[in-house]
């Protein structure tokens, strides 16, 4: 019944992406891969060995890689460009916007090392916690952030079938397994994972969802009943599901491995402002830069720990009752 696992294992979202693409590649010869000297980082050898000719490595130049991908896509190919997420979405931001999104070309971007979870040891230059905000403001760009490797594989298959530009954030390859294999992935749908009650809603995205699940369980043991919602598709946002939960709870906490500005917290705040008033606390990086270190410890240090979620839930409930 419950598709959430014990969450004590890890599995690679990078390998899962390549596996997902290989699920689709035999039946869709238009699918191809583009790298910016990122073939090894992407763990893409199984694909490149099986499909020589269906991949292109332009070298360490992400802007060129995106423009090159636009050229490929203009002929009907379906390139997936994969490298470090920040280099796609920040260094090549203009190419993504003007030459892929504006002409609505079928280029998919797969950003690895997204958030603290990805680049925890490399430091801030190799992390990115701004890209949800950047890409949410680009017209027509779809954004997906699966919670674990199994979901990445399914999300990859879903994206391969979609027309137009999209971005998927993946991680370092050491993400917790959250769902068992039977968990589906339905593009564009927010899903209610736990419905203990309507005291407050917790909205979470990405592998950090694990902490939200634990927090919701601990709160339930204290008698505080939340509704936990995974928002794996940030754009298009499932406004109706989110608004429906807010209507019941009138209090919400968002949790994301991202700056609190521009990402899930901002998106939920927009729904609150436009559709269903509620109290809100946004958890994520509080408009500061992170640092090198173990990801789980960094989350605790930068106020994304389970205790932070618990405290935030209590806070929004108290404010609601004022």
């Amino acid at each position: 019944m419950d598709k959430i696992t014990a969450m004590d294992k890890i599995a690679s979202t990078r390998e899962a992406f390549i596996a997902g693409l290989m699920d689709m590649a035999p039946d869709d010869p238009k699918l191809c891969l583009v790298f910016a000297d990122s073939l090894k980082a992407a763990r893409a050898t199984p694909f490149t060995e099986k499909y020589p000719g269906r991949w292109f490595d332009v070298g360490i130049c992400e802007q060129n890689a995106v423009a090159f991908s636009a050229g490929l896509a203009s002929t009907g190919l379906k390139p997936f460009f994969n490298t470090y997420a920040g280099f796609i979405t920040m260094r090549a931001c203009e190419q993504v916007r003007s030459f892929v999104a504006y002409p609505h070309l079928n280029v998919k971007f797969v950003g690895l090392n997204g958030g603290i979870y990805g680049g925890e040891r490399e430091g801030v230059t190799h992390m990115v916690f701004e890209e949800f905000g950047i890409l949410r403001s680009v017209a027509g760009m779809e954004i997906v952030v699966p919670a674990d490797a199994g979901q990445v594989r399914k999300a990859t298959r879903a994206l391969a079938k979609r027309e137009g530009p999209a971005y998927m954030r993946i991680g370092s390859g050491r993400e917790p397994v959250i769902f068992d294999d039977s968990m589906d992935f339905e593009f564009g749908k927010a899903r209610v994972l736990r419905e203990y009650g309507a005291d407050a809603a917790i909205f979470a995205v990405g592998p950090i969802l694990k902490r939200a699940i634990i927090a919701a369980e601990m709160l339930a043991q204290e008698g505080i009943k939340t509704t936990l919602v995974e928002v794996h598709t940030l754009k298009p946002l499932d406004v109706d599901t989110i608004a429906g939960v807010l209507r019941k709870t009138r209090a919400a906490v968002t949790l994301e491995d991202h700056n609190i500005n521009g990402g899930l917290g901002s998106a939920v705040a927009e729904v609150i402002a436009e559709r269903e008033p509620a109290t809100l606390v946004r958890l994520g990086l509080q408009d500061v830069f992170a640092e090198s270190g173990d990801a789980e410890l960094l989350f605790d240090r930068y106020s994304m720990g389970t205790p932070n979620v618990i405290e935030a839930v209590k806070q929004v409930i108290a404010r609601k009752r004022k």
């Binding site: 332009v58 070298g59 991908s69 050229g71 002409p103």
Partner: protein, 267 residues
Amino acid sequence: MLTEKARMLRRDVFSMIHQCGDGHPGAALSITDMLAALYFHVMRVDPQNPEWPERDRFILSKGHGCPSYYAALARRGFFPVDWLPTLRKIGSPLQGHPVMKKTPGVDMTTGSLGHGIPIGAGMAAAGRLAKLDYYVYVITGDGELNEGILWEAVQSAAHMKLGRLIAFVDNNGWQSGGVIKDVSGLTNLAAPFAAFGWHTQEIDGHDFDQILTAIEKAKTETERPSVIVAHTIKGKGIPFTENDNSWHKRVPNKEELAAALQYLGGS
């Protein structure tokens, strides 16, 4: 024949910019002869089927020269000539810079400089993968060679041996702020391409024999991309616009338009 086509395109360009009240006549006029050669002699295209997968591709990397491009496409039959006066107006398929999904015959959206060669490389690589024999032509500006992304693609296109990628550099010697050697210091434009492994040629970009011969020669290079540095005159074809950088972005008034049309043999 090409000379007359080019004169017609230049008449269109000046008229369009006059009617629209905005645009870059100087940059449009220096590329007119190359566009006339490409669209009326060289390129394998079918105006009735602008999405034909086997067509040759063209990218106007210096998108601000688009009045010439639009005129060439209209006169080649991709869309009605009476669209031309709608340039840059609300609802027009002719945007201020080229947009592939709004204008029949435009193979790629451009405007932000430096992107023609990178995108063209992708098109050429895709053609090779699909075993199609189309060529990809790019016209890039000379000032545009300041852009870093362009050199990223010069490296990778040579490495990929994209022999069907043929780029012109419209070497009119000017950029927005003045003479290129003063503004950004670029000289000897072919040399860096050669250093990265491209086949290079230098021609008079207003001499049709030289343009056509250079393209034929570039086509014989199957293992490396080609650049044709075309020495051109900014504002070419109208005596009072030639080599006068005030026409980089300037709108001809009624008298100037009449004088230009008279010179170009139209009315």
